[in-house]
């Protein structure tokens, strides 16, 4: 046993976790993005703000789905249900008080209350439903979440005092003092349109959500999620509490879905219960498949594709907008055809979505170098000598978890 531990220091790799803002290239990218955002902000028309804002909201929901299905592997068609819960919580807490007996309820609270509450209530509903639903797996879980959407629609159609029944209701816009996002307001001498104001709210929210989810996924919980997705029994053998992991993912996903739902309803101003249907859930599944399963950027890309693109096509009037009853290709149709076909194509050939494709292309050079060096290491390198063993003592730094049963 010749090579000692000290020789290894020459080969020692960077031990710190990959840092988000670690390298110069990262800072450069952030700088360019910031510049792009500023340019966009000052020059884009209100129509473009609509497109971008809807994409930002959809990205949050896509992230929510990715947390549950992409990272943790739990089949779910129920995203629409949790989005609706968030939206109606926001409506109840933040909506304007009813002016007539037929108006739906609203307590007129501030956005700082109704927006987080939307997430929290959706998370609570998730915590309630999760333990029962997550007993099932695969197709069965999918079908139960599907049932949830239908049951939800039934409830929303009937709880008219909150949802406005089949006719729908208005949803609160963020209001700061006298300033409501629904009108143009002056801030520090600059006039901001409604779209711009929403943008200033949505972009940071998406950034925060992305950061949060990214952090979770690179820490202990995220590894547990992926282990559950890849091999449940194996994960349990490694000490992962399957129930806690699945439920945790479910609750986090529901929270984010609730936020997205509230933001969507707020931005759209008026929504009927038929909006929160199975098609909506499926669109988000399409988004994460096309964009990239278990990927933050994948969620954003996928959302841009499934939700942003039809709006872009509408904007340029390339095709008649959806809802045109005389047949022929509408923008919604073309989009559905494309993402339906892309689901098939991606699942067949690149299950990792666009992001997976990018990673695969990036990893090509590595594959060639691996085949050179992988022949196995010589026995000398494998050594459990006292020097190296002492490095393994970690009891004083990280005491073993208290065993609780």
């Amino acid at each position: 046993m010749s090579t000692s531990a000290t020789d290894k220091s020459a080969q020692r790799v960077d031990i710190s976790p990959p840092r988000i803002m670690g390298s110069l290239s990262h800072w450069l990218i952030v700088g360019i993005c910031l510049l792009a955002v500023i340019v966009f902000f000052s020059t884009a028309s209100e129509d473009w703000f609509t497109i971008v804002n809807y994409t930002l909201i959809a990205a949050i929901a896509a992230l929510a789905l990715n947390v549950l299905s992409g990272y943790t592997g739990q089949v779910s068609l129920g995203l629409a249900f949790f989005m609706a819960i968030g939206a109606y919580t926001a409506a109840l807490l933040g909506g304007s008080p009813p002016t007539s007996p037929l108006d739906p309820q609203g307590w007129g609270l501030s956005v700082f209350i109704w927006l987080p509450a939307a997430g929290i209530v959706a998370a609570l509903v998730g915590a309630l439903i999760g333990p029962t639903a997550l007993r099932l797996k695969g197709f069965y879980l999918g079908i139960v979440t599907l049932a949830l959407v239908f049951i939800g629609q039934y409830l929303f159609k009937n709880l008219a005092s909150i949802t406005g029944g089949s006719q729908g209701r208005t949803f609160p816009a963020p209001v700061f003092g006298d300033y409501s996002f629904t009108q143009q307001n002056d801030l520090l001498g600059i006039t901001l349109t409604s779209g711009q104001q929403y943008f200033l709210l949505l972009l940071p929210v998406l950034a925060l959500v992305s950061l949060f989810v990214g952090n979770v996924m690179r820490s202990r919980a995220g590894r547990a999620f992926r282990a559950v997705r890849d091999h449940e029994v194996g994960a349990a053998l490694l000490g992962v509490n399957l129930f806690e992991a699945k439920l945790g993912a479910f609750i986090l996903s529901s929270f984010l879905a609730g936020i997205a739902g509230a933001l969507f309803a707020s931005y759209t101003r008026y929504v009927t219960p038929t909006y929160w249907d199975l098609t909506l859930s499926i669109q988000f599944v399409a988004a994460i498949i096309v964009g990239g399963i278990a990927s933050i950027w994948g969620s954003i890309l996928g959302a841009a594709f499934v939700f942003g693109l039809p709006l872009v096509i509408d904007h340029f009037a390339l095709l008649p907008p959806a809802g045109n009853g005389t047949g022929g290709l509408t923008s919604g149709d073309l989009n559905a055809l494309i993402y339906g076909a892309l689901i098939i194509v991606f699942l067949l050939f690149e299950p990792g979505g666009v992001i997976g494709l990018i990673h695969r292309l990036q990893a090509l050079p590595n594959k060639f170098s691996l085949s050179k060096g992988e022949g196995g290491t010589s026995p000398e390198i494998i050594n459990l000598s006292p020097d190296s063993v002492s490095q393994l003592e970690l009891e004083d730094v990280a005491p073993a978890q208290r065993e609780n049963e």
Partner: protein, 299 residues
């Protein structure tokens, strides 16, 4: 009383439709362990082609039905051959999603070709003709629905019990490797399963159309109600699909018939979710359904 019996009859008819749709799911699942989410849209395509056949191209009813069956069988075979073959061994989520992909493509294609205006359903008999007895109206079309369902079930029973391919399909469902070992061509079996399922989809589509008197692109979602039927019956039981379908159909119609009495508590549209509530109950109490088999898992 007559009202109740009328509802029972309607429930049986609805149940037959769900049974047929459920059979389509069940056959594909039995043969290849795939849940074909696109079964509803195959149904839709079938119904549209048949109606177009009758009203646009002025074909006689039976010919239109044959045309419909041919179209759906071709779609099913193409999908099975080109897409599903390559998905063998992939996780459940992916396979489920890929059939959803097909579902989206089909539904959109229908919407593009035929628009969202409802078109009339093709029916062999006049909608209003029927036998009246004891205060109950037995519509001719409805009676045919029941009759055809019985014929299809009998035909399938004979097929599975007594024909070479039927036995081969059952063998494949039980143990693919063993089936391969005795020389069964699994690919043929899969293709056959999809063809039968597609054909049944068209038939059930025709009857569902008659039942709803017109077809719209959102038709396919009615097929979703077959999921509670097959789960109640047991995913891997073909007879379970039939029994489950009948029970679900019956429950739904009866609920719809009587829910006006309890609108203040239950509100409107409760009958639309009763199948799902039943399904959830089944999944919690007896997940493999009435006739399904609980699998022993060896890790």
């Amino acid at each position: 009383m007559a009202y109740f019996l009328q509802l029972v009859f309607a429930g049986v008819v609805q149940g037959c439709i769900y049974a047929l749709i459920g059979l389509g799911f069940s056959i594909i699942f039995k043969a290849s362990e795939v849940i074909n989410f696109a079964q509803g849209e195959l149904l839709l395509v079938g119904a549209y082609v048949v109606s177009s056949g009758m009203f646009e191209w002025h074909l006689p009813f039976l010919l239109a039905v044959v045309l419909g069956i041919i179209v759906t069988v071709v779609i099913g075979l193409l999908f099975e051959r080109l897409v599903l073959r390559r998905m063998i061994g992939r996780p459940v989520f992916s396979i489920l999603m890929i059939t959803i992909g097909l579902d989206i493509v089909l539904r959109t294609a229908v919407s593009v070709r035929w628009a969202s205006k409802p078109i009339p359903a093709a029916s062999p008999f006049d909608i209003n003709s029927g036998i009246n007895s004891g205060g109950i109206h037995f519509g001719t079309n409805d009676l045919w629905t029941i009759a055809v369902t019985i014929i299809v079930c009998a035909a399938l029973f004979y097929f599975f019990r007594y024909t070479k391919y039927g036995l081969a399909m059952r063998a494949t469902a039980l143990d693919q490797e063993a089936a391969l070992a005795v020389g069964i061509n699994i690919r043929t079996i899969y293709a056959l399963a999809w063809s039968i399922a597609a054909g049944i989809a068209t038939i059930s589509g025709v009857f569902l159309a008659i039942d709803s008197s017109a077809i719209t692109p959102t038709f396919g979602s009615a097929a979703l109600l077959a999921f509670p039927a097959i789960i109640l019956g047991g995913l891997d039981s073909v007879s379970g699909a039939v029994v489950g379908g009948l029970l679900i159909g019956m429950t739904q119609i009866l609920t719809a018939g009587y829910e006006s009495h309890v609108t203040n508590i239950l509100g409107a549209g409760f009958h639309e979710i009763t199948p799902y509530l039943i399904m959830i109950l089944v999944l919690l109490i007896r997940p493999y359904g009435l006739f399904g088999t609980a699998k022993v898992e060896r890790i």
